[in-house]
Point group: C2
Chain length 218, copies 2
Amino acid sequence: MTPAESTKAEELIKDLNWRYATKKFDATRKIDAETFAAIEEALRLSASSYGLQPWKFIVVTDPEIKKQLSAAAYNQSQPGDCSHLIVLARIARVDQAHVDHYVDFVGQVRNLDSEKKAAYGGMLTNFVKNTPDAARDVWAANQCYIALGFLLSAAAALGVDACPMEGFDKAAFDRILDLPAKACHSVVLCPLGYRSADDHYADLAKVRFPVSEVVISV
Amino acid sequence: MTPAESTKAEELIKDLNWRYATKKFDATRKIDAETFAAIEEALRLSASSYGLQPWKFIVVTDPEIKKQLSAAAYNQSQPGDCSHLIVLARIARVDQAHVDHYVDFVGQVRNLDSEKKAAYGGMLTNFVKNTPDAARDVWAANQCYIALGFLLSAAAALGVDACPMEGFDKAAFDRILDLPAKACHSVVLCPLGYRSADDHYADLAKVRFPVSEVVISV
């Protein structure tokens, strides 16, 4: 490692130790536009299987909607008090139409002729054909969890607090946000913003099993 | 944003644009111990729901085993040619024993008395009680996908190439790595190392749907 690489590695680990699941946000502090744009871009750049990006990211800043979503998250305060609430949603169905749309877009970005596009699309069509609907829905949700990892890492790097949340009423979220009409379904939440000065969770020691327990070297 | 924050945001986005799913690794280049330790630490620091960390990370560097795993990944070269192959595995079952173990560990790290430990554990016991086995297995796998996001972000920050892979024979991986005996099951792979100079995928334009398509502002 060069000294510059060492510094970067130290900073990465420091940032990841700084982050924690924020239980109480400072409702008065908002993420500035430039910082949020960087987080949104990191989210957009997330990896997904085949590159299919089977997701929508709902960014909620409307105070009234955030209040409703807080209620639908079993009255947890974070969706209401955060600056930007991200709802990571999977598209309703990864189907041939999505594959066609994606392959067209790849062709456009990479300037592929129709033969190359057909070759590229064939593999994806087989995936759609050979995977049951329900399994593709689970698969799409999995990709949202990858994106959540990118989102949490980016937020930590930029000093923005976050709280990944699975505890919410998905049907209520979908209804409040009118997601079926947008052809997607909520999977997992990530309120973003800044920790409240009196969130005592911020001071608790981080609990991670030791390497000796979670890593198996072969 | 301060100038320092701007620089960090630019670097983050540059790193994420630099990464791509590496199709061909340089089999002669190995990740140095210090760099790998930082990546492993980032992985260990990944977020998980309730903090339960229902995972094991199998780090494979044995050339003979890597070759077998490459064959079990439909002969894709990356598991064999990479420097370190990470198999992200879920623990076989998130059960009361895991909850008890976790709560004991939390108590140890945070110096909790038995009353506080019981309060902490109650919520987790309810989760185990009220969630069917199969749903908890899916849930544990989801957490591995979050960890994959952390892993890919960390590797990109440290200039290490990676290739997330879902296309492999899970039963064969479990068998070759003897995972049932280690009470876990493979979920997703991430070979790490350095791109081969002739991996032409490195030069292709990144394909991501525009913000206007994937972000819905509310």
